[in-house]
């Protein structure tokens, strides 16, 4: 899973899964652009951790739902890192509103960030990825691209859209030697209530640690590093023929 010398942009890298992905890429030798929208402190934290590993990180900021801002921070990334090999679309919103609680504003906010934002980042990154011999687009999606959440239908809609966006992009970008794949994580413990398995979202039943194995065959939820490891594999030369795939990364929890 060597990515030495490659350059990567990870959106939403100031917290959670994005932070774990950025650190794992840097640990394996990639130069990383750490993107954030509002969590400057988180991005600085990610950069410090990367630099502590002896890696190179560059912070970029912007709203992924805004085309001009996306174009700007992708250009900044390519300028700062000397091109772009790997785009990791990760930044996403989840509001935990029911079907009847959502309104047009919340609908647009999620769809424009989670779905349109992924496309905008791909479109902006494409001129840079085309210049490389083995460009990679890795979309961090969710098991909720196939399974309903029962707590945020618009979030699921955005992930269902990403599933098809990934498949379409794999065909279109394949002609440039760029692979496009999705990772569909299950519950990942990022320290927030809504994704910590012992504290499920509103409406769900609290889960005791002793019940973990009933819901997680491996006895634990995922970690950001788990996602980071898979991203590094997909980003490496070892996965040159993997494209158009959606890899469920949930410790088999969706099989229960």
């Amino acid at each position: 899973m060597d990515v030495t010398g490659k350059t990567a942009l990870v959106t939403g890298a100031g917290t959670g899964i994005g932070q774990g992905v950025a650190i794992e890429l840097a640990r394996r030798g990639a130069k990383v652009a750490v993107h954030y929208n509002s969590s400057r402190e988180g991005a600085e934290n990610t950069r410090r951790q990367i630099e502590a590993l002896g890696g190179e990180a560059h912070i970029v900021q912007g709203n992924i739902a805004n085309q001009e801002e996306v174009q700007r921070f992708v250009s900044e990334t390519a300028d700062a890192l000397g091109g772009l090999d790997i785009l990791v679309n990760n930044a996403a919103l989840q509001l935990n509103l029911s079907l009847l609680q959502h309104d047009e504003t919340s609908f647009d906010k999620i769809m424009h960030t989670n779905l349109k934002g992924y496309w905008l980042c791909m479109q902006a990154a494409l001129p840079h990825l085309k210049k490389r011999s083995a460009g990679r687009v890795i979309n961090i999606s969710s098991v909720h691209a196939k399974r309903p959440t029962d707590f945020d239908p618009v979030y699921s809609m955005s992930k269902g859209g990403i599933r098809m966006l990934t498949r379409e992009a794999a065909i279109e970008l394949g002609q440039h030697g760029i692979t496009v794949n999705a990772i569909e994580p299950g519950a990942v413990d990022v320290g927030k209530q809504q994704v910590r398995p012992e504290l499920p979202p509103a409406g769900g039943e609290p889960m005791e640690r002793s019940d973990f194995r009933m819901h997680f065959p491996l006895g634990r939820a995922g970690k950001p590093q788990d996602v980071g490891h898979l991203v590094c594999f997909i980003a490496s030369d070892a996965s040159a023929f993997l494209s158009g795939a959606a890899i469920r990364l949930d410790g088999a929890s969706m099989l229960l």
């Binding site: 079907l99 424009h112 779905l115 479109q123 309903p148 098809m164 966006l165 065909i171 279109e172």
Partner: protein
């Protein structure tokens, strides 16, 4: 069939699927609320045949919450409660992700997916209040299979597929049945999604081992799904493509006889 004479709301009466649905449900004698983007011009023949049915013709922008709320009030006052919502919006524009404009992306996504969400929330929400009703999403095989011609369309269909799953959970607990039909293009429509990057629609008619889909096939399935005989079908996705997607690589497939 047991809609108890409740109104059937069809979101795109002008689409070939919509025209077939009009004819089939009219034969059942149920009231019809027909949203026609052309204001009825595209369905003159169908409307002329509806001599006995109660019909309300609408021309709504289904991307607008207020428009749907107002229309639902008017429909229910004139025709009675809506018991079946059929969402069949299919806007596609041939484009690619490299050159597509942001405004086109938003427009296609809103026309297809946001309209589905708003109709579900407003019309499905009303059904949930009553504890009775049914929603049918007419999506596309491109909720699963890329077309390599209109990535936004495919993404919108993937989004609706998940909306249907969520609605089946949330509204199902309140008595509303929710199902999805993923339809292949009806004859002639396949030309809209041809692509220089894919041979998917080359020799379309020959690729379906049984037959290509006709709009009336959808209408019959929709009628079945709305009835008591399909009472246990909930959260289901039925692919209606005559076996088309079983075909994969031309050089590996036998020729039709």
């Amino acid at each position: 069939m047991n809609l108890l004479n409740q109104t059937v709301f069809i979101t795109d009466a002008d689409h070939p699927s919509g025209r077939a649905l009009i004819a089939r449900f009219a034969r059942e004698g149920v009231p019809l609320a027909l949203n026609s983007p052309s204001g009825g011009n595209a369905i003159r023949e169908e409307l002329a045949a509806l001599t006995e049915a109660k019909v309300k013709l609408l021309q709504l922008d289904l991307r607008s919450r207020a428009a749907i709320v107002d229309a639902l009030e008017a429909v229910e006052e004139e025709l009675g409660p809506v018991g079946l919502l059929i969402h069949n919006q299919h806007r596609y524009e041939v484009t690619n992700l490299e050159h597509c404009s942001e405004s086109l992306f938003v427009d296609v996504m809103d026309t297809n997916a946001k309209s589905a969400f708003l109709c579900t929330q407003i019309i499905g929400g009303r059904m949930a209040e009553r504890g009775f009703g049914s929603i049918l999403y007419v999506t596309s095989i491109h909720a699963e299979k890329p077309a390599a011609a209109s990535f936004i369309y495919s993404a919108s269909q993937g989004a609706i597929q998940m909306l249907a799953a969520e609605a089946a959970l949330e509204l199902g607990r309140r008595g509303v049945r929710v199902n999805t039909v993923e339809i292949a293009p009806v004859s002639g429509e396949e030309d809209h999604l041809t692509s220089p990057l894919s041979t998917l629609y080359d020799n379309y008619a020959r690729k379906a081992p049984l037959q290509t889909v006709k709009a009336r096939d959808l209408a019959e399935l929709a009628l079945f799904l709305s009835g008591d005989e399909a009472g246990a079908l909930h959260g289901a996705t039925i692919r209606l493509d005559g076996g088309f997607l079983l075909h994969y690589m031309d050089h590996k497939m036998k020729k039709s006889t």
